[in-house]
């Protein structure tokens, strides 16, 4: 072995701050390059495609229409990802946010529809509470099972997504079906029910209550992680589980808090979506924000500000993807691949945050 020149990985004594910040940017660039190759393989001009996805929604001819969309699509992603990041930091893996999102929407819309056609200022706040409760209760199932029986929360939370989807189908065909809907599946449209409608706060800005909630969540998470004892418990549990044990962190409370919080935020996201941009409960009103938010959380380095930026970027790929779909005929799935690629590059490049490459003569390791 002695004479061979090799590349070795050497663990850095401390994670590199520079690389920690540079990795997401490098990952986005790498994804653009490989995404461009993918688009070329699909017979599209890669430069036009990349410009359509990343530039046109912000600065193109119709940007006045697309910019508000950035808030509408970004808000649920940021809300959910903030919740997920708390658990991910501590090694608590809630990957069933999609299910909690659905349940939040069902509880929220159900609360609103229960009052129909009564009008009143208190209806919307009650819907917000119901939505948060729906997401919370759905997340409490994996949380309690993990705390009480040691059941793997990854598998339970994911199984519950499929259960929630079936529940959604049952509700939109049954209990919540619009009685005046001519037999079509789906609930009444909440956009036409003033007390329940999550309208733009400033007409045409895309700024609805969900956006406000997302901003509050970012600030809340930032303060929690940097100033509060619970935030310290989350960080120390993720970085040094043994040290956490000795410093008196209560793992049970941590699991309940992290899963509960992410459930609440995902439930809120679902509720704001169904009472605003989506408008009604239908069999497939959920579009996978709960899964995309996992990418957002990692792309944002599990940091609240990072997640805010990553959420906006991911919203951009959704909007740009839609434009590319209608203008260039780029398949919708191509954007999904694009988003998946981003996570790959991020994870691969993250190596440089914790390790250093060493070139030199190999030795017997």
């Amino acid at each position: 072995m002695g004479g061979r020149r090799v590349i070795r990985l050497e663990k850095r004594p401390e994670a590199s701050r520079a690389f920690s910040l540079a990795t997401p940017v490098l990952a986005v660039l790498a994804t653009m390059v490989f995404g461009g190759l993918l688009f070329t393989a699909l017979g599209k001009d890669p430069f036009v495609a990349i410009r359509t996805i990343f530039w046109d929604p912000l600065f193109g001819e119709f940007s006045f229409f697309y910019r508000p969309q950035l808030l509408i699509k970004g808000a649920p992603l940021v809300l959910i990802a903030i919740g997920l990041s708390l658990g991910f930091k501590a090694g608590i893996w809630n990957i069933g946010a999609e299910g909690q999102y659905i349940m939040g929407a069902l509880f929220g819309a159900g609360m609103g529809l229960a009052f129909y056609p009564m009008e009143g200022w208190f209806i919307f706040p009650l819907m917000v509470l119901a939505g948060a409760f729906g997401g919370w209760i759905w997340a409490m199932i994996p949380a309690v099972l993990r705390v009480r029986f040691g059941t793997n929360e990854i598998l339970v939370s994911l199984m519950l997504v499929y259960v929630a989807e079936q529940f959604l189908a049952s509700m939109s065909l049954g209990l919540l079906k619009n009685p005046e809907g001519f037999g079509f599946p789906g609930s009444r449209n909440l956009q036409q029910y003033e007390s329940a409608f999550n309208a733009d706060l400033i007409e045409g800005s895309g700024m609805h209550w969900g956006v406000v909630a997302a901003m509050i969540a970012v600030i809340f998470a930032y303060v929690l992680l940097s100033k509060h004892r619970l935030g310290f418990a989350i960080r120390v549990t993720g970085e040094a589980p043994r040290a956490a044990k000795f410093s008196g962190v209560n793992p049970t409370r941590l699991v309940l808090f992290c899963l509960g919080m992410s459930g609440i935020l995902a439930g809120l996201a679902g509720m704001f979506e169904v009472s605003g941009p989506a408008g009604q409960i239908t069999i497939d009103f959920n579009v996978g924000y709960g899964f995309t938010a996992i990418i957002v959380a990692f792309l944002g380095r599990l940091h609240p500000i990072g997640i805010l930026l990553a959420g906006l970027l991911m919203a951009l790929t959704y909007i740009g993807g839609d434009i590319a779909q209608s203008n260039l005929g780029l398949p919708a799935a191509a954007i999904q691949v694009f988003q998946g690629m981003l996570l790959f590059f991020l994870l691969a490049l993250d190596m440089f945050t914790h390790y250093r490459l060493r070139f030199g003569r190999g030795e017997v390791a």
């Binding site: 893996w93 793997n152 598998l155 339970v156 999904q336 790959f344």
Partner: protein, 306 residues
């Protein structure tokens, strides 16, 4: 409701088929986890196998070539996971999730032109007079070769893990990668091979869904079977024969709820359809108290300088 509409012989033959994708995906993952790696990308590798197998079978007219392509497709995708977790030392949970998200997207992209097509039919093995035996014949001797291959694979995995040197090395790497490394075994290489085996198995399992069980291509058609396979490995305490038992249990439940839907039971379709997932959770809860069977290094990152 008319329960007599359920033919017990067809039901049993049906659940053997329903269990086969699970057997393949889960036995592959069992080997991966025995080597100390947790690959949560089973769902992604299955769906890639489903479309690779389907497309190849449609283009060449040969289902067997389809299954071969599915194995290659699954193994190639799993190489991405191997690269991330073994070379760049990324978090295994995150990498597995990435694999699933990427696989679902890529399969939808590859499968665009294959929606609504019927694949070539896979012939059943001709057992001659054996298939004529009443009851036992139609249950056991009217299936395609892949179904029997799944059973052989379980037996082979059990034998290799228990009786061979290769199996011993694999288990050693999974129990303590540092000790195995100190003894001179190539931890990264062994794990990469295990991961590729898992990918190939998951790919075949996926293709079994799109080519035989359904048989059709639709986006996201694996519908969580990859995740159930992961649960099954826990259920089986990492033991191949218990895994087979578990796969039949879940195959049975899936088949039963489909039959009940067909028979027009008073329970709404949606609640029947969610039952396999609910039962998976219940079983996980019952069995999760005992974690002693899990490979000791499961999910931990290995770096030679540690």
């Amino acid at each position: 409701m008319d329960l007599s509409a359920i033919n017990p012989i067809l039901f049993i033959a049906g659940f053997l088929i329903a269990a086969t994708p699970l057997i393949f995906a889960a036995i592959g993952e069992l080997v991966v986890e025995k080597s100390g790696t947790l690959n949560l990308g089973v769902e992604g590798m299955m769906i890639i196998g489903a479309i690779c197998g389907f497309a190849t079978a449609v283009e060449t007219g040969s289902p067997l070539l389809g299954f071969a392509a599915a194995a290659v497709g699954g193994a190639l995708l799993s190489l991405l996971f191997a690269f991330l977790t073994q070379i760049t030392l990324a978090n295994q949970v995150a990498s597995g999730l990435a694999l699933t998200l990427f696989g679902l997207g890529l399969s939808a992209l590859l499968g665009q032109t294959y929606v609504g097509i019927k694949p070539p039919r896979m012939a059943d093995i001709n057992f001659g007079p054996l298939a004529e035996i009443p009851v036992i014949g139609p249950i056991l001797f009217t299936h395609d070769i892949i179904l029997y291959l799944g059973l052989i694979l379980v037996a082979a995995t059990w034998a290799v893990l228990k009786f061979t040197r290769a199996g011993l090395i694999l288990r050693a790497v999974g129990e303590s990668h540092d000790a195995a490394h100190a003894l001179g075994y190539k931890v990264v290489r062994i794990r990469t091979l295990a991961i590729m085996f898992g990918g190939a198995c998951a790919g075949i399992g996926g293709a079994y869904i799109s080519l035989i069980r359904v048989p059709q291509w639709t986006e996201g058609m694996t519908a969580g079977i990859g995740w159930i396979a992961l649960a099954l490995v826990v259920f089986a305490s990492w033991k191949p024969w218990r895994l087979l038992l578990g796969a039949y249990l879940f195959g049975g439940i899936t088949q039963l709820q489909l039959n009940l839907q067909g028979a027009g039971v008073a329970i709404p379709v949606e609640y029947l359809a969610m039952s396999p997932y609910v039962i998976t959770i219940v079983v996980l809860v019952i069995l999760s108290r005992d974690k002693s069977a899990a490979p000791a290094s499961l999910g931990r990152t290995f770096h030679a300088s540690n």
